[in-house]
């Protein structure tokens, strides 16, 4: 197997990044108060810079930097835009985020909203969807850590996978969301600046015009903006990403953590900045097509192109970009999922009188538990994990309309929401297996829209009021 950098050099780079992360974890851990507001919501007073950077860092995943070039290489220019529309999902969520901040400023999780808005049955379905998504997401990121180091340096898969999980778990445990926010800013800067440097160097060597001409000579279909697969990918990815953002506690936790006046701007700004990442990373794949590079593994097109263009320095840039992307996402998923599990299951269902210290203690236990379970699940590297993640497409798309309509319309029918979520997931899965993975989010979102709209039109709910939502959330939080 071809390696791009030596194993010792890869370990030195990853070690240096890990020391930086752990130092922040311990430094901030000594300064945070021991209550859940500080540990889980960074004091609920986060400014624009950190709020924007953490949204970017959490949303730039291993998939963004590895999969966007892969899609560009195989499907074409439309797939690069298709990947980039996931940034628009952040922008679309901006007004909803502001509305969430206004109607329930004392909320703790996305589950709080669903339980108070729609009742217990919908809440249980919602938690199952969240758990399914979190496990799939965490598994792919842990695996990507192992595969990345293995592909770049030949290091054994388990070393990279364990390194990323252990480091992220320890610094998240020590410093909570404040440590994540600080490191996320640094990670976001590393990802964006390194990617920009890579792109500038690459397009300095081969101008965009030369790259275009090379693609048109070797594989012109990649420049077809009416490509059927490309259009399907664009629509499907937009709905998948929108479902991920609307329902996931990663984003809700950041809404509660931010100051109200920066909430809207941070989602818009982060969405716009994020959109540039897959377009730039994806466009580098066209260099491989234009120059006729041999790409034995299509999911490694990004490291291959950058290494060929820039030599060992390029491999170092790739390692820093992707490791930063993975670390920031793993820590965000760990803290958001453990927060959801402890607040929504342990506190609401088993121990309503749990103290603040107990909540933080159990969140820490759950972070460790989630990390251990993830390591066990990916120990024997599953062959088709990305397919497992795409399998969640029907589930996350089923949450789009319950969240979007439920935030603005007090008359949404609760039973219709329950039926819609179940039917959306079911029919989305049927579409996944009988049509294609791209069809699942589209079918799921469409079914949800139709059922909720008809149900609400026929029998509008008159018992719910937004004025009481924050009181209800506070009541279940402080029970």
């Amino acid at each position: 197997m071809e390696v791009f950098i030596s194993a010792p050099l890869a370990l030195v780079i990853v070690g240096a990044l890990s020391v930086m992360l752990l130092s922040f974890g311990f430094f901030i851990g000594k300064r945070i108060k021991k209550d859940s507001n500080d540990f889980l919501y960074a004091g609920r007073n986060v400014g624009l810079a950190l709020s924007t950077a953490t949204l970017i860092a959490a949303w730039v995943t291993g998939n963004t930097t590895m999969s966007a070039p892969e899609q560009g290489y195989t499907i074409g220019i439309l797939a690069c835009f298709g990947y980039a529309v996931a940034g628009l999902s952040l922008c679309i969520f901006a007004p909803l985020a502001l509305r969430i901040k206004k109607i329930m400023p004392h909320g703790c999780t996305s589950g709080d909203f669903v339980r108070c808005r729609y009742g217990k049955a919908v809440w249980i379905v919602f938690l199952l969807i969240s758990a399914w998504y979190f496990v799939g997401f965490l598994m792919t990121q842990a695996m990507a850590g192992g595969i990345l180091l293995q592909s770049l340096s030949g290091l054994e898969y388990h070393i990279g996978m364990l390194l990323i999980m252990v480091v992220c778990t320890v610094y998240t445990l020590k410093g909570g969301l404040k440590a994540i926010l600080s490191t996320d800013f640094i990670m976001a800067m590393l990802i964006l600046v390194m990617l920009l440097v890579t792109a500038v160097l690459a397009f300095f060597k081969f101008s965009p015009a030369q790259v275009y001409d090379g693609v048109m000579t070797n594989k012109p279909e990649l420049m077809n903006i009416l490509s059927g697969v490309g259009i399907m990918y664009l629509g499907s990815n937009f709905l998948f990403a929108t479902g991920e953002i609307f329902h996931s506690n990663i984003w809700w936790q950041r809404i509660y953590a931010a100051k109200e006046k920066v909430t809207f701007r941070s989602f818009i700004l982060s969405g716009l900045i994020w959109t540039t990442v897959p377009i730039i990373a994806g466009s580098l794949a066209f260099v491989a097509v234009a120059e006729g590079y041999v790409v034995p593994q299509v999911n490694m097109v990004f490291p291959i192109v950058v290494s060929k263009l820039l030599g060992p320095a390029g491999s170092v840039l790739v390692l820093i970009i992707i490791y930063s992307a993975l670390a920031s996402t793993v820590s965000s998923v760990l803290t958001a999922s453990s927060n959801l599990l402890v607040q929504d299951i342990y506190k609401r269902a088993f121990k309503p009188n749990a103290s603040d210290e107990q909540i933080v203690k159990y969140v820490r236990y759950t972070i460790v538990g989630m990390a251990v379970v993830t390591v066990i699940l990916v120990w024997n590297q599953p062959a088709s994990m990305y397919q497992v993640l795409y399998l969640t497409g029907s589930a996350v798309a089923a949450t789009i309309w319950p969240i979007a309509m439920g935030i603005y319309n007090s008359r949404v029918n609760r039973t219709a929401v329950l039926v819609a979520m179940i039917c959306s997931v079911g029919l989305g899965l049927v579409a996944y297996f009988s049509i294609s993975s791209y069809a699942a989010p589209v079918v799921s979102a469409l079914v949800g829209l139709v059922i909720i709209s008809i149900g609400t039109k026929l029998s509008p709910d008159t018992s719910f009021s937004f004025d009481q939502l924050d009181e209800q959330v506070s009541a279940i939080s402080n029970k």
Partner: protein, 44 residues
């Protein structure tokens, strides 16, 4: 038969340059916001 409409070279080049310039600009903007909030003690 799939419909075909190729993106032109000028559009492709323009997108690459605009996106790179946009990324550089927004990174600078984010750093400026950080510096301002750091100075005003309003980071968190």
């Amino acid at each position: 038969m799939e419909p075909v409409f190729y993106m032109s070279q000028a559009v492709f080049s323009a997108i690459i340059y605009i996106v790179m310039a946009g990324l550089a600009g927004t990174v600078a903007l984010l750093l400026a916001i950080l510096a301002k909030e750091w100075k005003n003690h309003t980071l968190w």
